[in-house]
């Protein structure tokens, strides 16, 4: 396939993300990568569960967490996963404008989530004096939730970069795989959050 066919295809196929060998490779490699990421988060969850009770008698999970805030955060992130599905739906229908619009909404929801998370951490540190260093539980909590937050920030920067870079030229066979795997990453972040919500917040509050 010539460079011209990749960058300015006369007709886009139904799955533009998998139309080239590079696209197929990226698609597969990213699934493998997410497999590795799963082990990474599994290790962090294991550590968190092992240190769950090591609060040194203060700032226990029941005492700290407020489910209202976490509920809003969960809704924001779950919705952003849905909007990224819409974006990919429009990508497969070759509607670049609508894809960008839905990715924009995804990113906005992601930033809102991140804002709440920063507020949450700030709140724990300043209202409760609960920090990364105050107990083994503190270390485990900020590391697990912070790793997830770091992934959110990276995902947002990634999607924004792709949106700006391709704003003018539209969809082609070179950038379609990039958009697609960025959306896979975003789904993965969302799935991890479901586990954090369950293991950290729900079990911390009622478990």
């Amino acid at each position: 396939m010539s460079h011209e066919d990749v960058l300015n295809p006369t007709k886009l196929p139904h799955d533009p993300e998998k139309a080239t060998l590079e696209g197929k490779n990226k698609f597969l490699a990213f699934w493998f990568f997410l497999g590795g990421e799963t082990v990474l988060f599994a290790s962090l969850f294991g550590t968190y569960l092992a240190l769950n009770g090591s609060t040194q008698g203060e700032n226990t999970p029941e005492h700290l967490f407020g489910l209202e805030l976490v509920f809003i955060m969960t809704m924001l992130l779950l919705t952003s996963s849905l909007t990224s599905v819409y974006a990919m739906y429009h990508m497969k229908n070759h509607d670049f404008g609508k894809m960008q619009k839905w990715l924009g909404i995804t990113v906005a929801l992601g930033f809102a989530f991140l804002g709440f998370e920063i507020y949450e951490f700030y709140h724990y540190i300043h209202e409760y004096g609960f920090t990364f260093r105050s107990s083994a539980f503190g270390s485990a909590f900020y590391t697990l939730v912070g790793f997830h937050g770091g992934h959110v920030l990276f995902g947002l920067s990634w999607i924004v970069t792709l949106m700006i870079r391709n704003q003018k030229r539209g969809l082609n066979l070179y950038n379609a795989p990039k958009f697609y795997i960025a959306s896979l990453y975003w789904h993965f972040i969302d799935v991890v959050w479901v586990f954090i919500f369950t293991v950290v917040y729900l079990m911390g509050k009622v478990g």
């Binding site: 460079h3 990749v6 960058l7 060998l21 197929k24 490779n25 597969l28 490699a29 493998f32 990568f33 497999g35 590795g36 990421e37 082990v39 990474l40 290790s43 962090l44 294991g46 550590t47 092992a50 240190l51 090591s54 609060t55 040194q56 990364f132 260093r133 105050s134 107990s135 083994a136 539980f137 503190g138 270390s139 485990a140 590391t143 990634w158 970069t161 792709l162 870079r165 070179y174 990039k178």
Partner: protein, 623 residues
């Protein structure tokens, strides 16, 4: 651009070529040079350890330096010698064996190498900046979290950086093997080496993230005041042991499986027979890979996990002996009735079988949890793991290098010198490590700086040290052979051994940088052999002669790795002085900036035109 062309344009151009190359064959060379250098450094450290233990109450080096030596010997040999040498073989051979023109992600391939190299350099810089890591290669907490100075910090950052490189390499080879196989190369026609690399890459993918997390926790505890392993604040030091061995046990299979694959190819080539029990071999490889994840806690029998956990892990560990036994017998049956040619590669392979089997046997002994209370942390364990790692991995690397050297460099290693290197190494290896089992049973603990007089340990330790010198002599002869062969040996044929069975022997030695002029059509297991039996010269092409698409060279992988290197120093020294945070931001800036450039700049590769390829065919450098 080939190496020869680059050299004509001067040394600068050649260096720049290697700094920016994305060609898997050149990356294989880089891995080999770097891994070889670290192997010599690790060997030097081993010699110092053995000299210190030559006689009772010896004072050759101080106790502190001794701790640094044992830590760096283990860490260097595993992460900086064995792993990159295996990656050298993977890079040199796998794309050729599956009929591909490069790996799936040439850019990431280069990134993986530079990350490994900078991680390795970082670890070794510690010798010059106030002391190397000294908590053992396993780096158990709280010994590691309370170790003074920055030695352990270098361990954490160095392994984090090189570990990222390995993970990237693992994903790359997985995708390469799944997506880039030539037409007709079904999974059950893949050479055993490719199969074992496939399983190994899966292990890398699922094992290394556990190490990543362990190292992060260690980094946070040592550099940012968290309390994961600090019992005073509710932490738990056993978490490190679990994370380390969830990575560490699969790691030993990551080391040995590719060499199992190499031995399989070598045995069948030099016995002029197809591999005995091919599908059983594939099954055994996959099963070893799977069971390898179920046994990590056998390193922790004495921690106090209780009889149930110990029993489960003991049984799972013993089960691994079954697929390994299948392999041993299949290798023997491959040689049975074959026309055996005892080349240097074959010599190392044949010597591997009894050596490794002894290591496997002591492995089953160690797996018996109740008995392990007696063996734990003694020289018995040291003897065991050197039998499998030296007798398996190092013998395998020597065998594989002799076997594939003509494909990598276009010349064979001198056979006589190859055999001359083998004998002192082989004899020295058994002298060094066999006696260590008995030293262990007599009660000599591992990692001790000195032992006392009059406890019956003198003779054994002396024999062990003498053996180590024999191994050093063997290694030096091998190094001499590399230099000698580069000057004296004549150009090797494409099918260098005359009995090649797999695709890499169907193209010239060394191959042109696009490997295959036309992608070959694979018509069975041992595809080249199938064509030979049909009386054909070389492979049947699967495509017409045409332009070939190849990836572009890039300097970004080097820059990204350099960024992590700089940031690593920043992380280590910001504990002393916050001004070092500048290095963290600068390094991360270089890393993320390079990633941004990579993301926004289109890189579609280039085409080699049909006319150029026809020119190469005329010159005889492509086929």
């Amino acid at each position: 651009m080939s190496t020869a062309v680059a050299q004509k344009r001067g040394l600068g151009a050649a260096i720049w070529d290697y700094l920016t190359t994305v060609d898997h064959k050149k990356i294989a060379h880089l891995y080999l040079y770097a891994g070889g250098l670290f192997f010599l450094i690790g060997g030097l450290e081993a010699m110092i350890i053995r000299i210190q233990l030559m006689k009772p109450d010896n004072n050759f080096i101080s106790a502190g330096l001794y701790n640094e030596m044992i830590t760096m010997h283990g860490t260097t040999m595993i992460f900086l010698a064995a792993m990159p040498l295996i990656f050298a073989l993977m890079n040199a051979v796998v794309p050729l064996q599956i009929g591909a023109r490069d790996v799936a992600f040439p850019f990431l391939n280069s990134l993986g190498f530079w990350l490994f190299l900078f991680g390795g350099l970082m670890l070794n810089v510690s010798w010059f900046t106030g002391g190397a890591p000294d908590a053992g290669w396993t780096n158990y907490a709280p010994l590691s979290t309370t170790s003074p100075g920055h030695g352990v910090d270098y361990y954490v950052m160095g392994l984090q950086i090189s570990g990222a490189g390995t993970l990237i390499g693992g994903i790359n080879f997985l995708v390469t093997i799944v997506n880039m196989r030539a037409p007709g190369m079904t999974y059950m026609r893949m050479p055993l080496f490719t199969w074992s690399v496939f399983v190994t890459s899966t292990l890398i993918l699922f094992a290394f993230p556990a190490l990543t997390v362990g190292l992060f926790l260690m980094m946070f505890d040592r550099m940012f005041g968290s309390a994961f392993f600090d019992v005073g604040l509710g932490g738990n030091a056993i978490i490190w042991e679990h994370l380390f061995w969830i990575f560490g046990h699969p790691e030993v299979y990551i080391l040995i499986l590719p060499l199992f694959g190499a031995f399989s190819d070598i045995f069948s080539t030099f016995s002029k027979k197809r591999l005995f029990g091919y599908s059983a071999m594939v099954f055994a490889t996959v099963l070893i890979g799977f069971l390898g994840f179920m046994v990590w806690a056998h390193h922790m029998f004495t921690v106090g996990m209780g009889p149930i956990a110990n029993s489960i892990f003991a049984v799972a560990t013993m089960a691994i002996a079954v697929p390994t036994g299948i392999k041993i017998f299949n290798w023997l049956f491959t040689m049975w009735g074959g026309q055996i040619k005892m080349t240097a590669a074959m010599l190392w392979s044949v010597a591997f079988i009894p050596s490794f089997t002894i290591g496997g046997m002591t492995g089953v002994m160690l797996a018996a949890a109740a008995a392990d209370y007696q063996y734990h942390d003694t020289y018995f364990v040291v003897g065991h793991f050197h039998y499998v790692i030296v007798g398996g991995v190092v013998f395998g690397i020597f065998a594989a290098l002799h076997y594939w050297w003509p494909k990598m460099f276009g010349i064979k290693l001198n056979e006589k010198l190859g055999k001359l290197a083998f004998w002192p190494f082989f004899v020295g290896f058994h002298l060094t490590f066999f006696i260590q089992h008995f030293l262990g049973l007599m009660g000599m603990p591992r990692r001790y700086w000195v032992f006392l007089e009059g406890q019956g340990l003198e003779t054994g330790n002396m024999i062990s040290t003498v053996g180590a010198f024999f191994m050093a002599i063997g290694t030096l002869i091998f190094v001499y052979n590399v230099i000698y062969s580069a000057k004296k040996e004549k150009k090797a044929d494409g099918d260098a051994w005359g009995t090649g069975r797999t695709l890499e022997w169907a193209i010239p030695s060394p191959p042109p940088h696009y490997n295959f002029v036309q992608t070959p059509l694979v018509r069975g297991l041992d595809p080249l052999w199938v064509e030979k039996m049909d009386g054909k010269e070389g492979m049947t092409p699967a495509e017409p002669l045409g332009d070939i698409h190849m990836p572009n060279a890039s300097f970004l992988p080097f820059m990204m790795s350099l960024g992590t290197f700089i940031a690593g120093f920043g992380f280590i020294y910001q504990v002393d002085n916050k001004a070092w945070l500048i290095a963290v931001f600068a390094g991360m800036g270089i890393l993320l900036g390079s990633m941004l450039v990579r993301s926004v700049k289109d890189d579609l590769g280039h085409h080699i035109h049909k006319e150029e390829i026809e020119e190469d065919i005329k010159k005889g450098v492509a086929k």
